[in-house]
């Protein structure tokens, strides 16, 4: 789980130029680290990088705006595949 979070953090830092820490539980939209364009790229990256498919229902702020919840979602989808 921590590895997933690390990969996602690195992606965000690359995409946005954000240099500080990213707390797994902060809402990244609220804190302004990502915007409504980045969040879609983040979801696309997550699917590609981890080889999972996110459904229509998964694509909500409650899942995607926090690294902890996004990582948990990715883990669930990985488990579904196994």
């Amino acid at each position: 789980m921590n590895e997933i979070i690390q990969v996602l953090s690195d992606y965000i830092r690359n995409e946005t130029g954000h240099s500080g820490d990213i707390s797994p539980d902060e809402d990244l939209l609220t804190s302004g680290i990502i915007d409504s364009f980045n969040i879609v790229s983040l979801a696309m990256f997550a699917q590609e990088r981890f080889g999972v498919e996110l459904d229509d229902d998964d694509m909500v702020r409650n899942n995607l705006a926090r690294l902890s919840t996004l990582a948990a979602l990715i883990q669930r989808r990985l488990a579904d595949k196994a």
């Binding site: 939209l29 364009f37 969040i39 879609v40 995607l64």
Partner: protein, 525 residues
Amino acid sequence: MPASIPRFLRQTASRLPAKTALISRERSVTFSELMLEVTATAECLREIGVGSGDRVGICMEKTVDQAVAILAVLFANAVVVPILPRLKGPNIRHIIENSGMAAMITDTDRLTEVSEFAQVTRLITGHGELSNEWPNLPYMRKFVRSNDFFDQIGNDNAAIIYSSGSTGRPKGILIAHRNLAEGADIVGEYLGTHEEDRIGCMLSLNFDYGMNQLWQSIRFGCTLVLHDLALPNDLFSLMQRERITALPVMPVIITKIFDKRLKVNTQRFDFSSLRYVCSTGGRLSSYMIADLRNAFGKTKIYSMFGLTEAFRGTYLPSDKLDQFPTSVGQAIPDCQILVLDEAGEECTPGAVGELVQRGATVTKGYWNDPENTAKTFRQHPRFPGETLVFSGDKVYKDANGFVYFVARADDMIKTKGFRVSPTEVETEVLRHPEVMEAVAFAIANIGVGEDIGCAYTSTSGEPVSEAVLRQFLKSNLPNHMVPSVLLHFESFPILGNAGKHDRKAVKNQSYERLGIPPPSVSAAV
């Protein structure tokens, strides 16, 4: 008679005290609660030292507290100066200095960024936790008696909205109370706004378009539902849950909510309450119209056009969209739209000229900028005693009098709903130590309006690392101003013998290299 938003709120709070006025994720308020909060907050501002005519900045995320702050500044007889929260230091400093800002209301999330301005303007928090340093309005207003001391007349200043032109720094568009009130009535008339409406507000309250949604709620007693658009599913759930009847959007919003990568199934939502969608700020493409129809069925769609200097100019009646899908329509109520040639004469149908507007929504000019004001806000011999807005936009009318946008006459870029001047972008690119010269230009991208491209030459002759340059720009510019495309040139073509680079040639070469046509001129089809 109103002539101001405060007068409208007095009426509506009296008429519909228990009606829900505003809803956000955090809280909701009725009109009477709103009136009490706003007049208490205005009293706080007065006690803090905000005086009549003072310019007060509002740099806040979209919350009920932001709406309260905006209204409280009006009720305090002061002038609202919105500051987009995404702006960086130098942009904010420009607005503070140019407007002569007496105070800035911000939220605690933004304090780290704006605290450097405590030396030049008084900082106040309008949302968030209490701090020892700055007055906190939500806290203060609990201990203060509501006081309605609003005394401005329709002609008095209500707001200054900073907006870019084609050159230089953003200019402050000075807006009177009467402009705001009439804007509410005018839009309400052609959209049929009424008390039962529930407006889904994804728009920022930092611009006239978003603010007008708040004004309409206050004027007509309908409910405004605030939403920060991130993912379409959340928006669609909200629209269903809140029975949204009205959805004002922009092309960039339409592109986001119908992003095919997200595989959203719009058919699983109930949009039966949706009365209309309206859009302004860019071209409404046939794909956008198709997506809207596919998702929202029989809802009415209004295509509109306007410039902040006159708030809004045209709208296309929804029953005309199928017949004239590329038109932006006819003059809004109580305004006239003229298409004038270079001699100031009206063009015949089909002939391209400049869009010139007269009427109720024409604003007062640019704050403290008589030179630029004189260029845009002018007289015309046919209308003695009046001031008309000369937009600089190239348009034509068809035989029915419907207007079609052709192009800007100048270099201003319109991206994601924002106006950006190429010089603003160039100034930042030039600040990088390895960059020698820069020319910014528009790249047509109907999804967002235009993208920004920037050609540059370097001191070393070699390209600057794209990652490095991009990182540099992102730290100084809000996202919408960072160029999507950075093109390195070994050298720029020179203009004549003056030694200045030839901007036009640089742009043409850039378009050639990108393999795209320049984004202008041919008649809109």
